[in-house]
């Protein structure tokens, strides 16, 4: 009788082991294949802005590949902090697993983000960040590095006395501050030749207008550096309009079809391109990794690349500046 009980126990243990391991496998698979819900709030979704278009398509593709649901809540105009905060509030109410956010303001969204965090929503910053370290993860271009590359390249185009003006996008925004700082570092001792910094609030027209004012103010200006797509293209438009491309060299950050055309025409002498698609894609995949509890990097650098008229038709650069979105 005793022996019999022992065997029953043995068989029982074997069965229990089978059940438990099977169950664990099932749970693990379930956790792995969970459909995460994400909301991305970019600065804008503007059909004329290749940077954001490309970034958003990157997030969409990554979400599709990860099997996550992604909702994009975008203000119509960049710099519309009020609308962005309203969208952020809306997003928090939906209680997604994570909010991906590209803050238009350096400080105006922190309160809401804190609320989201308290609700257990993970925060990933894409492209820009805010004053306080609220985020769980940041995926952005190393803007200091981007500015530096531009500055170093610009230095090769100039001589000791060339005067330089900077058209930046928004005063106080992290990207603007860092790019300008990097640009100045890249210029090295030519930094002293920067005569003025103006802010266009991410509007093409304002950038053009400011550039015209600058050209008037500093007739011996030899270079204008734009710190984002709006400011650099706006500046280039103004330079082209006044047929000053022979005299004033335009360099900038962020590419677009228009910027490429302007480079072909010889207005742009150099553009530092952010890897927007990669940034969006990594923003989603890394956030999903974080949600899955896998190891992740808190700061992801999506990288940047200098494009000049000489290398713009090379295969490597074409891949970067012309979005390949033909398939599917």
């Amino acid at each position: 009788m005793k022996k019999r009980k022992q065997w029953l126990m043995l068989v029982g243990i074997a069965l229990a082991v089978c059940l438990v391991s099977g169950g664990m496998l099932y749970i693990r698979q379930k956790n792995y294949s969970k459909k995460w819900s994400l909301i991305y709030i970019p600065k804008t979704e503007d059909g004329t802005n290749d940077f954001w278009t490309s970034l958003i398509s990157g997030t969409r593709m990554a979400a599709q590949e990860c099997g996550a649901s992604l909702e994009i809540l975008a203000p119509e105009r960049e710099q519309d902090v009020e609308v962005q905060n309203r969208l952020l509030k809306e997003a928090i109410e939906k209680s997604p697993d994570a909010i991906l956010f590209s803050p238009s303001s350096f400080d105006a969204s922190d309160e809401l983000l804190q609320k989201a965090k308290e609700k257990g929503i993970k925060i990933t910053f894409i492209d820009s960040y805010t004053e306080n370290d609220i985020q769980d993860m940041t995926v952005a271009t190393d803007n200091l590095e981007a500015g530096k590359q531009l500055g170093e390249y610009a230095r090769t185009l100039l001589n000791e006395d060339s005067r330089i003006a900077i058209v930046s996008h928004v005063k106080g925004v992290s990207t603007a501050i860092e790019r300008e700082q990097g640009f100045r570092e890249g210029l090295g001792d030519y930094n002293k030749n920067v005569v003025d910094v103006v802010y266009c609030n991410s509007q093409f027209d304002k950038a053009s207008q400011l550039t015209e004012e600058l050209m008037e103010k500093y007739p011996d200006l030899e270079m204008i550096a734009g710190m984002n797509e709006y400011s650099s293209v706006g500046a280039a438009r103004a330079v082209q309009k006044h047929d000053m491309e022979g005299k004033i060299q335009v360099v900038g950050v962020d590419s677009s079809q228009e910027a490429v055309q302007l480079m072909e025409k010889g207005v742009f002498k150099g553009i530092v391109v952010q890897k927007a698609f990669k940034m969006g894609y990594l923003g989603v995949t890394e956030t999903v990794r974080m949600l899955q509890g896998k190891p992740y990097d808190e700061n992801v650098n999506s990288g940047c690349q200098l494009v000049t008229p000489e290398n713009m038709y090379s295969s490597e650069i074409e891949k970067l500046i012309f979005p390949f979105n033909i398939l599917k």
Partner: protein
């Protein structure tokens, strides 16, 4: 020898046959199942791998042929245009530059382009371009890119001066049309200048979008995670389903491994990342078609099969364990029962064998049968033995009982004679009656036991005779509780004791002796005390009182030893005689027998 020892040691490790059988069967089954499973898993894996490798190879070759014929077809279109009178004359005819004629060429070419474009969705652009000259594209309405220097475009430069051969670009951006920068694959062909004057710098090009190629590549499904991609001769990607991710550095492809592959099949990576690349080079296009399959996915089918194998194996082992435990139990249970009942028999319980059922006709069955037969035989023998012993004891008892001291008889008869001579007729009557009662009781009664009352009567008769013989010497009192009168007592127990008391105690006393017989109940036993106030015994004599040689053959030969033996034979060792004596004061003999007497003694 050594091996045998080891085997024994091994078997000794288990405490029972049951566990030995169980463990042995389980281990055997487990080994068999493990080996079978391992073999099936291995075989399934290699079969699936080989089959899918062959299958993929076939698909990739087929796909290569399809792409070759697709490109050849496109080249035919380009050729037709490049070799047409219109193109050639439009580009190079310098003599008699009649604008109207040129316009005619232009119109016909554009018409041709429109027709081609209408029929085919996979052509993005078609046109004829000439450096700093003719730019004739699609329907002719689209503005060309004025800032583009054609000499920076590989598809153009490669085609020029490369008569009779088409050029096929890799994936690239087409900058020719203003405001459009699509990714295309360009097939270009020189329009040769046969005039001999001027450059041969006209090129016909066809921009292919990816619709046709991706359709060709994707329709050949090689698994959910499998895909097909195309590389050009320099290892640049012509087509890849994840081209966008690759271009954005979000994925990598093992292009180096593919380009440096020696055979048609390359396996790379490890674990979940293990991939099989199947290649096919095309002589026509110079491209390499690569099919990539994820090994894990490929083996998913086999993994499922493996899971089934393993599950089956587990179930089999579980069933085998259950069955083996059942078999082990069914074999050893009868053995255990046999062992248990053997133990009981060992302890003397022969009825244990009756409980044993013969389980079946196997070895254990016959063993059980033999055991049962043997036990029954032993039981019979024991019973026979007991019976014989009983008979022996009975005859012994009879022998003991039947001995009446002849001297007593002679003396009594002598006494009667004397009394008769002395004309004491009343005494004669009394003595004769007493003697008659005595003789009747000792001879006629066949039973082993008598009632205490009868035995007392017997003693009374005896004492009456003796009192008459030793007139001045003996006085007796009999005082028995009537409640024990009906208790059975072994025959002729009291008389020898009384006789002893008279001959050894009272006879040597100078004054008159008193003999008292008292009977009463005590603790469920009947107690009869025979007390004399004779000479008594010292301790030494008392210690030897039960020795056999102390038989007094002068008395009836039924000595104290015999009485004691009969009592203990009959009632058990705890019953019998107890002597208490003091020199000079007398002796008390106590007879203790149980009141409740078991039936089987009566039977016997």
């Amino acid at each position: 020898m050594n091996e045998k020892n080891r085997e024994q040691k091994f078997l000794k490790g288990f405490k029972s046959i049951q566990s030995t059988i169980f463990v042995a069967t389980s281990v055997l089954v487990l080994c068999a199942v493990l080996v079978a499973t391992a073999v099936s898993v291995r075989y399934t894996n290699s079969t699936i791998y080989e089959n899918s490798a062959i299958y993929t190879q076939t698909i990739i070759r087929q796909l290569n042929q399809n792409i070759d014929s697709y490109i050849t077809y496109m080249d035919n279109i380009a050729s037709v245009i490049a070799k047409s009178q219109d193109a050639y004359q439009l580009l190079y005819q310098q003599i008699g530059e009649d604008e109207a004629v040129k316009e005619g060429h232009r119109k016909r070419l554009l018409e041709q382009f429109s027709t081609i474009l209408k029929g085919r969705d996979d052509i993005c652009n078609i046109g004829i371009v000439q450096k700093d000259g003719v730019m004739l594209i699609n329907s002719g309405y689209q503005a060309t890119n004025p800032d583009l220097d054609l000499s920076t475009q590989e598809w153009y430069t490669n085609a020029v001066d490369n008569y009779n051969q088409y050029c096929l670009s890799s994936s690239h951006v087409q900058h020719v049309i203003k405001g459009q920068r699509p990714w295309v694959i360009t097939l270009s062909r020189e329009v040769h200048n046969f005039y001999g004057t001027g450059n041969s710098d006209g090129v016909v090009f066809i921009d292919l979008n990816y619709s046709a190629i991706s359709e060709l590549c994707d329709q050949n499904s090689i698994g959910d995670k499998g895909y097909v991609f195309i590389l050009d001769q320099d290892g640049n990607i012509v087509y890849h389903p994840s081209q966008q991710q690759l271009y954005n550095e979000l994925q990598t492809e093992n292009i180096d491994i593919v380009m440096n592959a020696d055979s048609d099949t390359v396996v790379t990576g490890e674990g979940d990342e293990e991939k099989i690349y199947t290649l096919s080079h095309s002589e026509t296009t110079g491209w390499t078609i690569v099919g990539c399959m994820n090994m894990a996915e490929l083996l998913k089918g086999s993994k499922e099969a493996n899971n089934i194998y393993v599950m089956t194996a587990i179930v089999l082992v579980a069933i085998a364990m259950l069955i083996s435990s059942f078999i082990a139990r069914s074999i050893t249970l009868p053995i255990q029962k046999l062992r248990d009942s053997m133990e009981r028999v060992q302890e003397g319980d022969f009825k244990a064998a009756d409980d044993l059922l013969v389980p079946s006709q196997n070895e254990i069955g016959s063993l059980t049968t033999s055991f049962n037969v043997m036990t029954h035989k032993i039981e019979d023998l024991m019973a026979q033995n007991v019976h014989e012993q009983e008979l022996k004891r009975k005859s012994e008892l009879k022998a003991l009982q039947s001995q009446i001291n002849p001297h007593f008889l002679y003396n009594t008869l002598d006494s009667i004679i004397w009394m008769a001579e002395g004309k004491k007729y009343e005494d004669v009557v009394l003595m004769t009656a007493s003697l008659a009662r005595l003789l009747r009781q000792s001879i006629s009664n066949e039973d082993e036991t008598v009632l205490i009352g009868q035995e007392i009567q017997y003693v009374k008769s005896y004492l009456t005779i003796q009192k008459m013989r030793y007139k001045d010497k003996l006085e007796f009192e009999i005082n028995v509780d009537p409640s024990i009168n009906s208790v059975h007592i072994v025959k002729l127990v009291l008389q020898p004791i009384v006789e002893n008391a008279i001959y050894h105690g009272l006879k040597y006393k100078e004054s008159k002796g008193l003999l008292t017989v008292t009977g009463y109940q005590k603790d469920g036993d009947a107690v009869i005390e025979i007390t004399d106030d004779g000479v008594g015994m010292d301790e030494e004599t008392l210690g030897r009182i039960f020795e056999k040689h102390k038989v007094n053959y002068r008395s009836n030969g039924v000595g104290v030893y015999n009485v004691q033996r009969r009592l203990s034979m009959y009632y058990g060792k705890e019953y019998g005689l107890r002597y208490k004596s003091e020199k000079g004061k007398g002796t008390t003999v106590t007879v203790v027998i149980p009141i409740e007497q078991e039936e089987h003694h009566e039977k016997a």
